[in-house]
């Protein structure tokens, strides 16, 4: 009896395995690089401000209040999709929005901002891309949520959408606010 059912059990096992594979790959992007930096202090940096390179902004200036670090570049096509969302909802997030201009010619970046608008409280420019490597940036757009103590709490790869703001960012931001109030 059992030897007859054996192929059937084998089939069920393989079916379950493949089914789980489909389920898993639909919910996880296998190309997404997990960030080992979440829960760890953001790397120390100090970068020139876009449009005013004599001024430097970095971890020291940003400490004390949570902020959202948004990696963007004029060469990044997906950033163009994300930008209107930031223009529309950036001010409603309740945290400072820091633009991280990644490996971009300052003139290109300034033209891009002039054309599409500036949703950022401040924009820092990382032309050589060294600070981006410290942050584990693999491309643009990427967004980091850093708390008042300077710890990276969350990272989002790919363009921010209204859904991402509602389901991922706002709950985490309100949590940070609650922590700050305590």
């Amino acid at each position: 009896m059992s030897s007859r059912l054996l192929p059937f059990f084998g089939f069920v096992l393989v079916f379950a395995l493949l089914g789980f594979g489909i389920y898993w790959s639909q919910r996880h992007d296998p190309r997404e690089v997990p960030s080992p930096l979440i829960g760890k202090p953001a790397p120390q940096f100090s970068l020139p401000v876009l449009g005013d390179p004599s001024k430097q902004v970095g971890t020291k200036e940003l400490a004390g209040q949570p902020y959202l670090l948004n990696v963007f570049a004029s060469w990044c096509f997906a950033c163009r999709d994300e930008h209107p969302i930031l223009m529309q909802d950036g001010k409603r997030l309740g945290v400072r929005l820091v633009g991280f201009n990644y490996k971009d010619e300052p003139d290109d970046a300034k033209r891009w901002i002039a054309q599409y608008g500036d949703p950022y409280d401040v924009i820092v420019a990382d032309l050589p891309g060294n600070v981006a490597i410290d942050f584990g940036v693999t491309g643009a757009p990427e967004t980091f949520l850093v708390d008042a103590k300077g710890v990276i709490r969350y990272k989002y790869i790919s363009p921010i959408t209204p859904e991402v703001i509602a389901t991922e960012l706002l709950p985490r931001i309100s949590l940070l606010k609650k922590e700050a109030a305590q």
Binding site: L6, V33, P36, N130, I133, G136, T138
Partner: protein, 149 residues
């Protein structure tokens, strides 16, 4: 004539693409250092073109990381220290050879487990068959033997 011209054009294009693809030359001290650099960057994954190694990729990030790996080699860091530096930023994803730890146990030993399960299944089936044929031949002597198959 035209075919020769075309051939020349193709050759020129190929030559040009070779020039374009010549990956940023780094000032190596000696050949041994260059070999070490190549061996190390072959084990590292480009985070942008994820099916390419850091050694092969043309992505700007890969060029930056090659430069960082080179600089760290110059600073006297060992291969393991450089790998640790990279995994601290990009997780184990950056390594083509995943290290053995709790999260990768199934990855490392899963195939052996499946092989073991298959082996056990085969042994059980073969033994059962042997027992059944033995029982069959014992209960039905000689005459029916040819009708079994």
């Amino acid at each position: 004539m035209t075919s020769r011209l075309r051939l020349l054009a193709i050759a020129l294009c190929l030559f040009a693409s070779m020039l374009v693809h010549a990956i940023d030359p780094l000032p190596f001290k000696d050949h041994a250092e260059e070999l070490r650099f190549q061996a190390l960057t072959k084990q590292l994954r480009c985070l942008v073109c994820q099916n390419e190694s850091l050694a092969d990729s043309n992505a700007p990030l890969a060029a930056d990381l090659r430069r960082d790996v080179f600089e760290q080699m110059q600073a006297g860091k060992s291969d393991e220290e450089i790998k640790a530096w990279l995994t601290a930023r990009y997780s184990d994803f950056v390594l083509y050879d995943p290290p053995l730890h709790a999260a990768t146990l199934l990855l490392w030993f899963g195939p052996a487990l499946v092989l073991l399960a298959g082996g056990v299944a085969i042994i059980v089936i073969v033994r059962r068959r042997a027992r059944m044929t033995k029982a069959a031949t014992a209960s039905q002597p000689a005459i029916d033997a040819e009708d079994d198959w």
